[in-house]
Symmetry: C2
Subunit: 189 residues, 2 copies
DNA sequence: AATTTTTCATAGCGATCGATACGAAACCTG
DNA sequence: CAGGTTTCGTATCGATCGCTATGAAAAATT
């Protein structure tokens, strides 16, 4: 999982996986069928072990604003964990791919779209509860938040620290409707 | 350039380049030395022809807020041009790479860092002119804006339309300090 | 026009890709 | 302990990678 996370699907060779797992090629293929299946297993494992913060944040019994804050702050941490590759596997795994790996790229795209849909769902709930203005476009704002998280993933990959990502998240939160004054990116935090 | 933009550096094979350019292998190597040099030529061409909006926006004699607005709106257009691959080559070109292509990944990272630095420079100028509060962290806000643009690049790659990207940009602008009320993501736009 | 020089496309180089055939070692059964 | 079966590591498969040597066609010079 770490190798796919770091180098992406195609750039991770079986030789690297073999060495990392300490397995012989037939053992790998007996256990995982082929490289594509192994990658999909890594995806589900990543989803379960590394980004639980997202589901936690979106399902917590807190205000919509607090839920979004937890979502972005969780991303800041998850994307810059020490000892882990920077960013999000769903972004780094196969943003660009050869025609042969189009299926993998599409699957990762589906994961990203799923995240955005989950955000939109939470926003719609918040709007129904009166946390958000009625005039707000839930889908548009979800696309903004998903975009910010994707951007954080790239910033993390470029070496941004958890503090820098937190400031970025805090800045992004200032775009939330109903904010009287900007709170993010202050040098006094 | 389009091939590298679409598939990334490593996933673009010489066979694809050969067919697209209508050249034989020796012609390619006579003209561009090797694949890496060809990619770097594509990078500089991309920089000159596709993302002039950024330099235009940052150097225009307008308010800081207007400059940032032009920057994000320019990105919305540039990342979703019809007939062009979605997103930004500097992001898609080699976000994840094999160890052999680390030099390419580092070069793209340098381009991204350069963009962020250019934004920070413009923000610092704006702060000196009184456009931005003194307490604002220029670097932190630049990281936010660069992150939003990177996120827009991924959203574009996932099929976001220019309108959706404009709404995203408008939403991101609401995080600008000194904004009384949120203007973005309204369903009435 | 004959000959030399240059240009250039084909064919193939070594290396590596993902994936597997095959022989040896280990293990259970008689 | 012998025989039969399973397990498993090595060695290698065909395909493709980036790249280049070589022979034929074209151009330039006598």
């Amino acid at each position: 999982m770490h190798l796919f996370w770091e180098h992406g699907y195609e750039a991770t060779s079986l030789a690297m996986l073999r060495e990392a797992m300490g397995l012989t090629p037939p053992q790998i293929y007996n256990a995982f069928t082929d490289k594509e299946t192994l990658f999909r297993k890594a995806l589900t494992r990543y989803h379960q072990t590394e980004i639980g913060f997202a589901l936690d944040a979106l399902s917590a019994p807190v205000s919509t604003r607090e839920a979004i804050r937890r979502l972005l702050m969780g991303a800041a941490e998850a994307y810059s964990r020490p000892g882990k590759p920077g960013g999000c596997l769903f972004v780094s795994g196969a943003l660009a791919a050869s025609p042969q790996a189009q299926a993998i790229a599409d699957e990762l795209k589906a994961y990203r779209k799923g995240s955005e849909a989950a955000i939109a769902e939470r926003l719609a709930k918040g709007q129904a509860m009166g946390d958000l203005p009625e005039g707000l476009s839930v889908d548009g704002f979800a696309k903004y938040l998903a975009g910010v998280m994707n951007g954080m993933s790239i910033q993390a990959r470029d070496g941004a620290s958890v503090e820098e990502l937190r400031i970025l998240a805090q800045t992004a939160l200032a775009a939330l409707p109903g904010q009287g004054q900007n709170q993010g990116a202050s040098s006094k935090e």
